[in-house]
């Protein structure tokens, strides 16, 4: 049986500089997958290529059995991919309320926004504030909330806990573990512990190549791991 998201021999990059080299990975229908690697390893680039913000130079991206590597981002998203970018992850001039409204444009559930607000009560107090004026952590919460509202079948999270306070990280982690029971989650994360708690499987990128992969628990104890994460 094919994987839910199947990436084969993917090359990608910016302009003429290639960043990803022959990346092959598979994401199952359910459960978490962590993508690790040091700064500049190509994690964000991989995420962008999956949602289609960057074109794949070579190779194949298949989602739900269909090749999506030529599809526009919005089509991929409508097909069920949710994405929390690393930077610029909220609509800065739109209010928090409108940000959430954009997230739920495609959603059928009425109480979805309320649900997000129970997860992140902090946002409830900031509904009319332009999202650009939120604090760093609040912004991340909003971005995650927004992506969750679209009922994705595959959720891509690019460093969702950067700048988030430990108290909230715990909350987010639990939600993600919960979520990973019903959908697929790809998480790029520097908190190794967190990442490997959410993920069952992990890939480690090094200079644009998959350097290491395996079950989360195996990767965690792999002596090679530190070498790929240290600067």
């Amino acid at each position: 049986m094919p994987e839910f998201l199947d990436i084969k021999h993917l090359d990608a990059g910016y302009g003429r500089s290639q960043v990803l080299f022959d990346v092959t990975l598979g994401i199952p229908w359910r459960g978490g997958v962590a993508v690790l690697g040091r700064n500049g390893a190509g994690k964000t680039t991989l995420m962008k290529t999956i949602v289609g913000e960057l074109p794949a130079w070579k190779g194949e991206v298949a989602f739900d059995g269909r090749d999506i590597s030529r599809r526009a981002t919005q089509e991929r998203v409508r097909a069920g991919i949710g994405y929390v970018p690393q930077e610029h992850s909220v609509f800065a001039r739109l209010s928090v309320r409108d940000n959430l409204a954009v997230g739920s444009l495609a959603s059928k559930k009425d109480d979805a926004v309320d649900h997000v607000l129970t997860i992140f009560p902090k946002l409830g107090q900031r509904l009319d504030q332009p999202a650009g004026t939120l604090s760093g952590g609040e912004r991340k919460m909003l971005a995650i909330g927004r992506a969750m509202l679209g009922d994705p079948k595959l959720l891509l999270l690019d460093e969702p806990t950067e700048g988030v306070w430990i108290g909230v990280i715990e909350e987010i982690t639990e939600r993600l573990i919960e979520l990973a029971k019903s959908i697929a989650v790809i998480i790029v994360e520097q908190h190794l512990d967190l990442a490997l708690r959410v993920a069952d499987y992990a890939y480690v990128l090094d200079r644009g190549r998959v350097a290491l992969q395996g079950q989360a628990n195996d990767v965690r104890v792999n002596p090679e791991l530190m070498r790929y994460l240290a600067p």
């Binding site: 910016y14 302009g15 003429r16 610029h88 001039r93 004026t133 070498r227 240290a230 600067p231």
Partner: protein, 377 residues
């Protein structure tokens, strides 16, 4: 509560370099041409200079006169390029300085009979400088930086208002402008159109060009680039942003004023369009067409736009404005960085202030390799 609103805007603008902007930068980056290494600019500059020096020898009389005009306009384009291409200040009303200097020297000639080149050119330069300081001081300066759109539409409106003022003001000749300006003089010699005037103007252009070139390649030029990229950010480094903007805007105004006074004497008349929107837009087109952010691009743009319109109006009399529009559109669409980008790489266009890039890279690459090995456990 106006205060807190501005604060909100500022927070948004300053903090979250907004997504659209990020996309812009990324788009620009993606187009990066890897033509580094070779230095193309000096070659282009040299070719243009030689061509300009030889032009009167091969051109007929009237074409030399035309070429003189073009060179004056190139000087004007230079002033705009400095302000927009280097410092990122969108002066959509650059004609205001050009034209007011033109009017100024025309009045000197008409009312005071002063046409001495050593008086009128400095006077024109000074007028341009003063007007730039006044308008710039009003529009650009202040605690809260003005947005590009505000500056561009503000200067545009300023120039529009000046145009209308000139049309309405009888002393300035109203709609008719000031005709029959006496030629510029030096002692008994009169600069009428022709090769002498041409070389005079070319000389001035070369000197101004070299000064500008020196300026933008100095560390001051780097400060200007910082200003263009993110004015608020560099204030936190300790740059006196207000001074920088005032200085560069005033220099731009002064050069425009110099060009305007030359133009007035060369054409022999000034009229309201000269301060207005049409000429303001025209200079923006020159620079965009040639390639903003490279001094030579401004010159090339002026030469080509003027040359092409001249040729078109000769050969496609009825429809030349349409063809010109089409050409402009095509260049803007397919060469948003201007014609110069055909020969010039992105990096060289944006400029780089590091010394001897190649050597340094090699040296440090070795070092980092070593360091990486060291860092690895």
């Amino acid at each position: 509560m106006p205060k807190s609103m501005t604060v909100v805007r500022e927070a948004i603008a300053g903090d979250e370099a907004d997504g659209a902007m990020a996309e812009r930068v990324a788009a620009g980056q993606a187009k990066e041409q890897v033509k580094a290494g070779r230095k193309v600019l000096p070659i282009v500059e040299g070719v243009v200079l030689v061509a300009a020096l030889l032009a009167p020898l091969v051109l007929q009389d009237y074409l030399t006169v035309f070429a003189t005009r073009v060179i004056i306009l190139a000087l004007f384009a230079l002033s705009f390029d400095l302000v927009w291409g280097y410092a990122g200040i969108m002066s959509f009303g650059q004609a205001l300085f050009f034209g007011s200097a033109g009017y100024g020297v025309a009045l000197l000639a008409r009312d005071l009979d002063i046409t001495n080149i050593f008086v009128v050119l400095p006077a024109g330069t000074l007028i341009g400088l003063t007007f730039a300081l006044l308008l710039g001081g009003f529009l650009l300066l202040g605690r809260h930086p003005s947005s590009v759109i505000f500056v561009s539409l503000g200067t545009l409106t300023g120039s529009y208002a000046a145009d209308r003022l000139a049309r309405g003001w009888y002393y300035l000749g109203g709609q008719n402008g000031i005709p029959s300006i006496a030629p510029m003089s030096l002692g008994g010699y009169e600069f009428t159109e022709g090769p002498a005037f041409y070389y005079l103007v070319l000389g001035i252009l070369v000197v101004v060009y070299l000064l500008c070139r020196f300026l933008v390649r100095s560390q001051f030029g780097l400060a200007l680039a910082g200003l263009r990229e993110n004015e608020q950010r560099i204030a936190f480094f300790g740059y006196k942003v207000q001074h920088l903007k005032a200085i560069i805007f005033a220099i731009g105004g002064a050069i425009a004023g110099l060009a305007g006074s030359l133009y007035a004497f060369h054409e022999g008349f000034v009229w309201p369009n000269m301060v207005g929107v049409v000429v303001s837009t025209q200079v923006v087109l020159y620079v965009l067409f040639g390639g903003s952010g490279t001094l030579i691009g401004a010159v090339i743009g002026a030469v080509i736009v003027e040359g092409v319109s001249f040729w078109l109006s000769d050969n496609y009399r009825e429809i030349w404005p349409i063809i010109l529009g089409l050409l402009l559109l095509l260049v803007i669409l397919f060469r948003p960085l201007g014609l110069i980008s055909f020969v010039l790489g992105e990096r060289e266009r944006v400029g780089s202030f590091g010394a001897k890039p190649k050597e340094t890279v090699k040296r440090t690459e070795k070092q980092t390799e070593k360091e990486k090995r060291n860092a690895a456990p």
